[in-house]
């Protein structure tokens, strides 16, 4: 797989299909870091591991690059979906972006609880089957069952927040300027923890139809809040009710923006484990 990615990278650079290729480089002393490849010799040191999300970096590289600059990104499934979502939301010009799609290993898919561990445009590697995140015990613990007990669990975890803004900074889709989390009306400044409702739920809902479950937020969280789990219910609801999944292609429109009042495509019944409000009302 690595050799194939190197070959593709070389041909992209040689044929000037792109001005740079964003990927990982193994430098002297075995140091691995993100790098924009722009000459053929460097490509010898290209590597694919560890999983290091590049979509956000790709966006910042493109934003500050001169007109006509084209960037290729070595993209895992989640990276590709994030980039697609950015293109769809006019944060990136489609013509300036290329991807070299690589499949994730089975181990990586299991670590991420990834439902689609491969990009739609796959260039290298063998795709492995997705993992059902709701089969995972820790996830179920957080998302299924008594709503009050879950609320306490979440409150305990979210109270750890040190307000590093790492979840927002690392999220490839979090691109709004100005950011609601910087609005003092919603998020009190100068104190930690960030409030559960106004910080974490604003962030989560803001991403409800764009989150591609790449895990960048969770990986950047110094205090180990399971942030991806916070998104899974909404992603699943959109999938089940509207057949919608963020980042699959640039045409599919978010039901939250377009179809919310239309009849859902896949029936009206919400899965019972996200129906916690009703349980509360009954009790």
């Amino acid at each position: 797989m690595l050799q194939k990615v190197k070959d593709i990278t070389r041909s992209i650079l040689a044929e000037k299909q792109a001005d740079g290729v964003l990927g990982l480089i193994r430098g002297q002393w075995n140091i691995i870091q993100p790098h924009v490849f722009d000459n053929l010799r460097q490509v010898d040191n290209l590597v694919l591991e560890p999983k290091w999300l590049l979509a956000k970096m790709a966006m910042t590289v493109l934003r500050s690059s001169p007109e006509g600059y084209r960037l290729a990104v070595i993209a895992r499934g989640c990276d590709e979906r994030a980039l697609t979502e950015l293109v769809k939301r006019n944060q990136m010009e489609k013509d300036r972006l290329l991807t070299i799609g690589i499949a994730c290993s089975k181990e990586q898919a299991e670590i991420c609880l990834c439902q689609r561990p491969y990009p739609e445009k796959l260039d290298a590697g063998e795709p492995v089957a997705g993992v059902d995140p709701f089969a995972d015990e820790t996830t179920r613990d957080l998302l299924v069952g008594d709503s009050r007990a879950r609320m306490e669990k979440w409150a305990r975890l979210l109270k750890r927040c040190i307000k590093c803004y790492g979840c927002r900074n690392s999220c490839p889709i979090c691109v709004c300027i100005p950011c609601k989390l910087e609005d003092e009306v919603w998020v009190e400044t100068g104190v930690i923890p960030a409030e559960m409702i106004s910080y974490h739920l604003i962030r989560a809902f803001h991403l409800s139809d764009t989150c591609v479950a790449c895990g960048a937020c969770q990986e950047a969280c110094p205090v180990h809040i399971p942030l991806v789990a916070l998104q899974r219910s909404m992603r699943e609801a959109l999938r089940q009710v509207y057949g919608y999944e963020a980042g699959l292609d640039t045409e599919m429109r978010s039901p939250i923006l377009y179809d919310l009042f239309k009849k859902p495509a896949a029936g009206q019944i919400l899965p019972d484990w996200i129906n916690s409000l009703e349980n509360d009302n009954e009790s």
Partner: protein
Amino acid sequence: MNPEFIKTICPYCGTGCGLIVKVENGRIVGTYPDREHPVSRGTLCIKGWFAHEFVHHPDRLKTPLVRIGNRFEAISWDEAIPLAAEKLKATAETYGGDAVGGLCSAKCTNEENYLFQKLIRMAFKTNNVDHCARLCHAPTAAGMAQTTGSGAMTNSISDLAGADCILIIGSNAAESHPIIMGEIYKAVDKGATVIVVDPRKTAVAQNAAMHLSINPGTDIPLLAGMMRHILDAGLHDAAFIRERMEGFEELKNFLQAWTVERAAGECGIGGDTIRNVAEVYAKAKEAAIVYCMGITQHACGTANVHAVCDLAMLCGKIGRDFSGVYPLRGQNNVQGSCDMGGLPNVYPGYQGVSDPAAQEKFQQAWERDLSDKPGLTLTEMIGGAGKEIRALYIMAENPALSDPDVNHVLESLAKLDFLIVQDIFLTETAKFAHLVLPAACFAEKTGTYTNTERRFQLLRQAIEPPGEAKGDFEILCLLANGLGIDFPYIHPREVMEEIASLVPAYGGVRFDRLERAGLQWPCPDTYHSGTRFLHEHKFTRGKGLFVTPQYTPPFEKPDEAYPYYLNTGRMFAHYHTGTMTRRSPFLNRELEEPYAEIHPEDAQRAGIREGDRIRITSRRGSIVTAARISERVAKGSIFAPFHFTEARANILTNPVLDPISKIPEFKVCAVKVEKEPYENQGR
């Protein structure tokens, strides 16, 4: 045309997280976490994420400045260096070398600190060199050196994740060392019990299983009460004490006087709480003690450290994985600046200046006569300014904000014949200088930092310094040559080789070995892979020593005139004297103005509402700040962060010193609080 990503180390706290800075056209435009970094593993706190923001601030110093009357005038390096050299030389000739003092810096690299102390010691035959470690972990260096032989964190940061019980005393790691707090939460997620001892209900305390809100300055009674109960209940590690410890009888005698009930009375908590906590700690398989300024910044700071070590050694919870004693160092390189001999009583590697063998070794290596008389400490140098100290050379330190009783500090600085300040911004201290030298910041130089877990790490230059600013390494070499000392170094790597040749514990440290993950000292030779935890089979000093901790209550207690305790500290978005963070737009927007926390009941009694301007007064001075009404502080206590130049909390603090380490009692003094009259409310 394409941006470059360069790995380097965060310039803020002692955790030493890995940063990747994004460079475009010679400017740093962003910061990313380093996924491969052994400590931070792809995470950063708010300060780290925005570490690039101050780098290109327009306030950066770009040329040397000389004071002419009441203003500064730009001069060239060709004028500045001879001027500095001439003034320092003249002072030494007139008043003797001991009239010159130097403050090196916990913000600068190991190589720079090594050169700084070498310069002061060689050029002026004095040991008047010190730095802000005096104000943070001097008691750790002194206290742990006595008990274990090594004044450093015994274990690695990642070890915390494996502990079953973590006792946190006087550390608000969630705000001051957030990435270390993450390791503690890893342990919590595996079932560990976290116990927090802090007068204030800090963010750490809010997330702990138990919070002991003890009276300010009563750490020794608490620890003594715990030890007494552990002994009485037979929970101590008798075999460990027999084989590896000395001084047990003395400790037992000392504890005779400390019944749990007496301790509980002093601390203002229940005796059963002390017993419970003692049992949780002693019975845990692996138990760690994390401490910080709440232990050290007291007039009995060194004794506090003794008590912490005594507890760990009594239970045998030291010298192995996961357990241990974890002092969290504050500055990015405060461990290194101490290691490099930036202290008045030791050469690099804690080799005593009064030890004839060490003196001989450094005299031979440096080919100069050196003084065997320990120099003055930072607090003594500032106090003696204009008297025994006539000229002071300050590298990247800001005592005008960081020292206690700063009104007195300012008076002292003004009395100096000649003050050189070398910094990246015109700090409050630099405004008093006769000569200001513009230096490079973390992103503009190469060198090494040593983090709180003794890890040498490589700082990589990403961009050039602004204007004519130069790296401290280069400035020191120029000044040395101006003083007639040969510093022939071209690259900091050569300085590290010299350090390695003089300090056995760093003997194996070389720049190229630090590239991937750094090295934790001791690392005696180039085949050694570093040391994850200390004191495995024997303590650095041989046997561990129980030192009986003599309890001194805080020097000032609330009375009728000054009815509140004042506690000073930090908040999550700012860093120390705010030189960098307050110039970082994102961090500054988080908190632009100073505040002080007051308990709701106290506020109500004084007629103070949220946001009111209040005047806090101690016996040394007063500040005006905004009230933040909060149950985080205990009744009868005020908390003020010390980051703010417009309300310097250190105007209030008490300069009384710990007799051993000379640390001031920052954490406790008595104050009164008044609401400012209506016309000063600014509404």
